[in-house]
Symmetry: C2
Subunit: 267 residues, 2 copies
């Protein structure tokens, strides 16, 4: 996912046009049901589905999205903002209409009027992602869509130690896919507020990470690297050096998208 | 699901042939991925998939299945028994082979050698089923495959009162689809050991029922009727009369299969 302000053309701070109000919508979706986030003609995407459901009621809408999730990544608490006519449908009617059209793969959990300067992306203070791992000899049919199955035993202590080094302000070049633009323009410096592994059920491990913003593939790349340490293929103490290397090749595999979920956006 | 002894031709108590041993396997599956339980040429079924995975290693196998789940019904703890050559693969190797072929939609949780007179179906003392309902205004993408979404508010007290009347030994004709054979042959008398609704999460309700055996569509029919009482469309006190009526038309709608899971078989 990419949350760097330089990555989108929409300017921060624009207020609604006269006769319009700003709305804030919390949505959840099963990433497996969509071909990624951004609108894309001919395929089902998260933004495309929302826009198609909203425009018959509102006319043209432009969505600001808090966290750009990669294809296959889920969301429980994604936030989007957009403008709608003051004289148009009430927020609850919009929620019902979108859910009637998009549920159950994509649902609007909540819609409300927001302050005129609220912007789902630029007003966000932090994003919280969760990555779920089923660690045991046997897969689980009911977790197959939302958790990565890792049969080899993982050392929880090694997992925990491995992620301390990503907390704080760092250049995350080692964990991020470089944007296609010229290198000089884009900073991959991000502030990670917290990152930790915990046990949440029998054989069920969860990595939770919060940061002011994330660059592309950052969480999945940190998880993939951390899992190599949990599996004993690298020492947890190597994580600090990997961060410092600022080299994509220093990090481990990118973990698959289906274990990842945008859990919450903090404003 | 149908567990009545009269419904299957396999006789109880048959012991393994010389050179064979009896194995007991616990399996879990996502009912949505299969066209029902019974082997059926050309479509993916639970028994068909297990047999196809086992026969290359064991030669012809005949499975005894504890609970015949309807199409779309899940299982967390389904039990099957079958015979395998004593000189053949170890149980763990069978588990790995089936999982390599069938996971994640169908997984073997456990395989072990059983007593020669063990029969997954005829040795079972009770089956436990769970039905999950998401009761709230908004559906949940991550529960869509395993819980029935009911938007209108349900009265937990009415749900609880409604199911007391099914506990005990009754003729469940009101809740069971009649087998196609002549009526006289088949008893729909079953003993329900326990049946109760509980709250298991935010907006998440669970009906758990255990019985020595169930007849076809019995759990889903009881759930559908109970939900009508929870929604206030019938009074909970009517349940006793519906049981007594022994008339399929007295009961409510059959609840959809995706909320139901064969949770456990007790031996």
């Amino acid at each position: 996912m990419t949350n760097a302000p330089a990555d989108r053309s929409r300017s921060a701070g624009a207020r609604p046009a006269p006769g319009q109000r700003r709305l804030r919508m919390t949505v959840a979706y099963d990433g497996a049901a969509f071909h990624g986030m951004a609108a894309n003609d001919g395929v089902r995407t998260v933004v495309g589905s929302l826009v198609e459901a909203l425009e018959p009621m509102l006319g043209p809408v432009e969505l600001s999205v808090a966290g750009r999730t990669d294809a296959g990544v889920h969301a429980a608490g994604q936030v989007v903002s957009f403008d709608a006519p003051v004289e148009g449908p009430e927020p609850e009617a919009l929620q019902r209409a979108v859910n009637a059209r998009c549920a159950p793969e994509l649902v609007v959990r909540d819609v409300a009027e927001a302050a005129p300067d609220f912007d789902a992306r630029f007003s966000a203070r932090a994003r919280v992602y969760r990555y779920t791992v089923l660690n045991g000899p046997v897969p689980d049919p009911f977790l197959a869509r939302t958790a990565l199955w890792v049969p080899q035993p993982l050392d929880l202590n090694a997992l925990r130690l491995s992620c301390d080094a990503v907390i704080g302000l760092h250049d995350f070049s080692s964990f991020c896919r470089r944007p296609k633009r010229p290198l000089g323009e884009v900073s991959l410096e991000r502030r990670v507020l917290d990152a930790r592994w915990s046990v949440v059920g029998e054989g069920l491990l969860r990595f939770e990470i919060s940061a002011t913003a994330f660059c592309h593939q950052m969480v999945r790349s940190i998880v993939g690297t951390s899992l190599e340490m949990g599996a004993g293929r690298r020492r947890p103490g190597e994580m600090a050096g990997i961060v410092r290397a600022r080299d994509r090749h220093a990090a481990g595999q990118v973990a698959p998208p289906h274990g990842l979920c945008l859990w919450q956006v903090v404003y």
